[in-house]
Point group: C2
Chain length 413, copies 2
Amino acid sequence: MASLRSINQEDLRNHNLSVIIDTILRSSSPLSRADLAKATGLTKATMSLLGAMLLDNQVVREMQPDSSQSTYGRPSTPFTVAHGRWAGIGLQINTDGYGCMALDLDGTVIDSRWEDDDMRETDPDDIFARLDAISGPIEEDLRRKGYRTVGSGLALPGLVADGRELLMARNLGWGQLKLERFDLFRRLGPVAGNEARMAALAQIPGYATQRPVGGGDSRLSPTDSFIYISTDIGIGGAVVKRGTVDVGDHGFAGELGHVSVDLNGPTCRCGRRGCLETYAGRRALVEAADIVTGARAVSPRAADELYRRWEAGDPGAVDAIDRGLDAMISVMASAINTVDVDTVILGGFWSNFGGNLAQRLEDRLTQLVLGRQAVKVRVLMPSVAEYPALRGAAEVGLRKFIDNPLTFFGQGV
Amino acid sequence: MASLRSINQEDLRNHNLSVIIDTILRSSSPLSRADLAKATGLTKATMSLLGAMLLDNQVVREMQPDSSQSTYGRPSTPFTVAHGRWAGIGLQINTDGYGCMALDLDGTVIDSRWEDDDMRETDPDDIFARLDAISGPIEEDLRRKGYRTVGSGLALPGLVADGRELLMARNLGWGQLKLERFDLFRRLGPVAGNEARMAALAQIPGYATQRPVGGGDSRLSPTDSFIYISTDIGIGGAVVKRGTVDVGDHGFAGELGHVSVDLNGPTCRCGRRGCLETYAGRRALVEAADIVTGARAVSPRAADELYRRWEAGDPGAVDAIDRGLDAMISVMASAINTVDVDTVILGGFWSNFGGNLAQRLEDRLTQLVLGRQAVKVRVLMPSVAEYPALRGAAEVGLRKFIDNPLTFFGQGV
DNA sequence: CACTCATCATTAGATGGTTGAACTAAATAC
DNA sequence: GTATTTAGTTCAACCATCTAATGATGAGTG
């Protein structure tokens, strides 16, 4: 538990500010000073002082006093997250394009650009230069509008170690890559991470931006734990525990696409046999359903065709999907037994397959996991489905501010 | 990151004391005030004050000043963990017996008792009464010697939820059980946990007792992450991340015995198919090697016979072991890809199978895991092999003190 | 052997974040 | 209009850590 690092009074204030901001973001309704004092355990006196700091630094602003909350007494003045001052930048390079997003602490997308393109077998230097070209103007725009950019994240479709080294991205055809070598990386200093992990972050309500009023997917609370599975050509994943992503020792925890469901199964390109990806990856499914093979099997059109045939009840398609589903369920159950969380969010193209898919998965998983007397397994569809990794990357940037607000206070732009 | 709870000045001191104690325990050589100031980031002044508190409360004592450390200057006065004041109590109920251990903060076993017995199909009330009968005198003895008992742990061979409810222990024939109903539990208030998780804790050098000089297994450092696999009739496991056990949301993370390696494999008693336990559990191996079947397959004698035949090269035994090994490797690789740690500790009866087993596993795993460019997989044998769960349970008790030293200071016994 | 220097440890006073208590503010109940 | 209730502010007091000065104790130096 002990973090092996001492703390002093400045850390104390920084921590308490961080707790307050975190509490505000994760709440689905505006909180007053009094509410925050109760929620965090601070005294009214301290809350009053720290509240003034947050107002001064444009982290929050006061709403109209609200007397409808309680029958008696002076009405409270709730805070909302201020708009227009604190921003995070998200960057993403994917197999089908690249883009950049600027996100306000209050959750609004300030600016965003996405370029569709076939990224396979591209030159990293070229791509980073192009990403630089679209992110530069966005940064400039932020400055012009009076924003302070507090951090950034970079989502990549591959294995990323320590937030700054790409080990490999097979679908891009990229190998090992020290990210510091790119100007863009040195300028913005983003935290790099796997696409699935960034997408998982975007599902956590109130992780680094104000939780939408009403709470988005009301089934998921800000401190829930879940496994996120990102499905595309490859299959990735992430483990979220009590509202924070589990990064692992080297930065690639949650690679569920390469959990094996059959130790004598087909050989995967990763070297193992029977990996989930060989049953439930987009390309594997298209080929199993005999739609097309080879290079054309990776195109999105082939997946659309698979979906049509599956809806029409074509036996080949139905069989392939069923087989993929069995593998998916096996991996989910194994992962739940390994990390002990009760919720699975199924992202990517698999989320298209039928409205009752979640329910079917839920029912079957419930039969399989340990501790089912005490655990109610849930399978949810992602609430942020549009560019989730890009948004997650921006939230990683904003999180730098939330974890360390004091370092950003009381100095110029 | 933010724990959603504010901190005040008392928490600050408590935290810093905790960090200091933690640092002392995890170090393999005695540390002076100056060393500790450097290691924790505290100033010499504060370190001096807090050091005096630790001395006053008999947490540490001063050794002879040591001038051999540096050529120049005043010699430092290193601390060692004091003996005779702070104790934790470990309790265990297993399929083959039950016992109690009292552990000093300095790592010495103050007292311990173990009763061998066949515990299958026993009455919980009876067993808890018997455990009470042997732990009572040990507690009394601690009091007499001037110890302060700071906490306790209870290791159980089954699924434990929230540290105080047994969901099921199949090998005992016990079902759901609220542990508060037992006198012993109410009196000592132990944290209950799965046997494998407790055993995993005991492998962490300096987790809650002073790290042995020289460091025990020098390959394992106190802040390493690893997966511990406990093998017996059933197979359990635990995930340790950066020196602390990952308990999971309900308290049963790491149940690797019920990770499936073949979704069409034999049906396991847990309801799934192809669980590791059906390939590599003690009973499964004995039956696969055609030694005996049925109830007699669970006896330790059958496992001894399996070991003899395997050593002699009997084909049935060798095949069974190889098959078990394949399953084990598959689960290890999947678990590593899921939680991203690079070390596996293989505990229980599997650790008997040959001196080069670890090396063989290491070599094969290295071929299978993702990120093998950046990760060196290690397979280790447990350094604490005698009653590891019992010792781990006692360390859980001591950890209460280490996490919260201030609450134990400055008041009577 | 006196002097310098480096390192360890303590002491005194300063700094600064949180606190408790008293106070002001603003609403409803009767 | 007065009592009551809840929200929020003010300020002296507290206390944990920090800075800086000082004491302690050894080795090196000429």
